[in-house]
């Protein structure tokens, strides 16, 4: 490709500028977290004596251990169940195609654009009537339902594109539909499944609205919900708030840096299909 030198330099400068704008807020958060607790420092200023102990204090006051455990419990319930039932439905709609498959799919797709605020009020009363308010179930159950439009749509799109020869071969070998599903289709779906798992993990971890409305105890919430409560309680102590925010961000950031290639491709595909 013919690219002039001037254009390359312009491009490089823009990209670096864009990266700087993206990363400076994180740096500001970090250096502020190192100032003495209770002070009111300037936005970007290295402290005279970095207070690394702020992170220990924030870990204690935010009760990070409990928060991590709570988020973990929510994830472990939401992600596998959503993956499993969405894969079953996606397989049925994309591969078996029963009569009415088209209508069922449209019904699911309708939910793709739904703002969570549209159903949050009835969900509150539903959870109250079920006696689940202020328990993790109040986040887990609605989230599974709310993920269905995207997850079913995603898995159907995957199964529709699977070549039919595969199942024909299995059928000739005498496999039942169920065996064919577990032995042939699920193993071949691993890339689609793992991308979906990453997206669901991230959305659950970062879920805020459901946590704030349905669960008042931060120790039963998701990480994002707990962060909201932490801000409400320690919002005036800026260095401590910054340290706490960084701690709450750390797990996702670490997971992201380890699996960044998978994350980037999952998010790009996820928005293209959604």
């Amino acid at each position: 490709m013919i690219v002039s030198r001037r254009e390359t330099w312009l491009g490089r400068t823009m990209l670096i500028l864009l990266m700087a704008v993206t990363i400076l807020p994180f740096i500001s958060l970090f250096v502020t977290a190192l100032h003495p607790s209770g002070t009111y420092p300037s936005g970007l200023e290295w402290p005279e004596s970095p207070q690394w102990s702020n992170f220990v204090d924030a870990f204690k006051v935010a009760d990070m251990g409990t928060l991590l455990w709570s988020s973990f419990l929510i994830e472990i319930a939401v992600v596998p169940v959503s993956l499993f039932i969405a894969t079953l439905a996606g397989f049925a709609l994309g591969h078996l195609r029963p009569p009415g498959a088209r209508i069922i799919l449209v019904a699911f797709v309708l939910g793709l654009t739904l703002p969570r605020e549209g159903v949050i009020v009835p969900l509150y009363y539903q959870m109250r009537d079920l006696g689940l308010l202020n328990t993790r179930w109040a986040i887990i159950l609605p989230l599974i339902g709310l993920y269905m439009p995207f997850a079913v749509y995603w898995m159907r799109a995957h199964f529709v594109n699977m070549p039919e020869d595969i199942s024909e071969a299995a059928r000739i070998d005498g496999a039942s539909t169920w065996q064919m599903f577990w032995r042939v289709h699920v193993p071949l779906s691993m890339p689609a499944l793992s991308s979906l798992a990453i997206l669901l993990f991230l959305w659950t971890w970062n879920q805020f609205l459901l946590a704030v409305v349905l669960v008042s105890d931060p120790a039963q919430r998701t990480m994002a919900g707990a962060l909201g409560a932490f801000q409400g309680q320690w919002g005036t102590d800026i260095p401590l708030l910054c340290a706490g925010s960084l701690l709450i961000l750390a797990p996702t950031l670490i997971v992201f840096l380890v699996f960044q290639r998978q994350f980037v491709s999952a998010l790009l595909q996820g928005s293209l299909k959604g």
């Binding site: 823009m14 670096i16 993206t22 029963p98 549209g118 159903v119 269905m148």
Partner: protein, 321 residues
Amino acid sequence: MNQRLTGRASARREDTPALGSPESRRRAIKARRLRRGGLALLLVAPAALAYIVFVLRPMAQSIQFSFYEWNGVTESTWVGLDNYAAILREPEMSGSILNAFQLIIYFSFIPVLLGLFTANTIRGFATSRLAIVSRTVLFLPQIIPLVAAGIMWSWLYASNGMVNQVLEAIGLGGVARAWLGDFDTALPAVGLIGAWVALGLCMLLLLAGMTKIDPALYEAARIDGAGPWREFFAITLPSLRQEIAVCVTVTVIAALASFDIIYISTQGGPGNRTLVPGLEIYRLAFFNREIGQASALAVALMALVLLVVLPLQRLNREGDS
């Protein structure tokens, strides 16, 4: 596909005389198809159940509640369309909807336009080391919770935060202020948080779309003497229809249904300047105990999102064909 499979299966059984006659074969095919249909519906059932109980039923209830006046405890009274009329009448609610539409400029237009521009300038070296590092960096805002973005930026916008520090450093100390507390700047400031979150995703989506365009097209255009502008409008933009539709859809929904960022950074203030429907629904339902009114606004919000997003999907589909 059904026919082909069942056809082959019954062909294999041709040696059994009972199944050989056309009548019984037809019956066997029909039975098999029914069985498969039944199995398929059984497999859809768990997902459908979760969807119906936790999405469709609450959705229907939102519509039902919206016709009543109800405080969540005592008897409710039927008020017809009064709650909807109130949305248009009360400046607090109509204002929240207008604010949400204004946020589209920041959440959607800025990231998409800036993303297009940047992606276009770095297209030439999309596979270089710098571009690969930039992928990781630009994705950071996408993986952190919006709440965290809100907390970070509240601090950046504070009167002694980094934004004012930078302004003073470049000699613009005169415009420094507490950005989120000022009536004129609160909404744009909140909007720019959304722009910061969306920019990386939009840029990378558009860049991914651009790398799929055949480089021969650009070479041909250059040989014909087309400048960068002609090139952009004649080749790049038309090929990116689908990606642009996706970026706009995702970000417009984020703008209209925004909640997390506003809740954390301004709580709707100062003086409802940054109030959005999501936050107003939350306030009405859980602080003012006006369930009917909150539900009417929720229904209006769902309808507005559909109204804005559906035409965009048509653009997307036309781009496919």
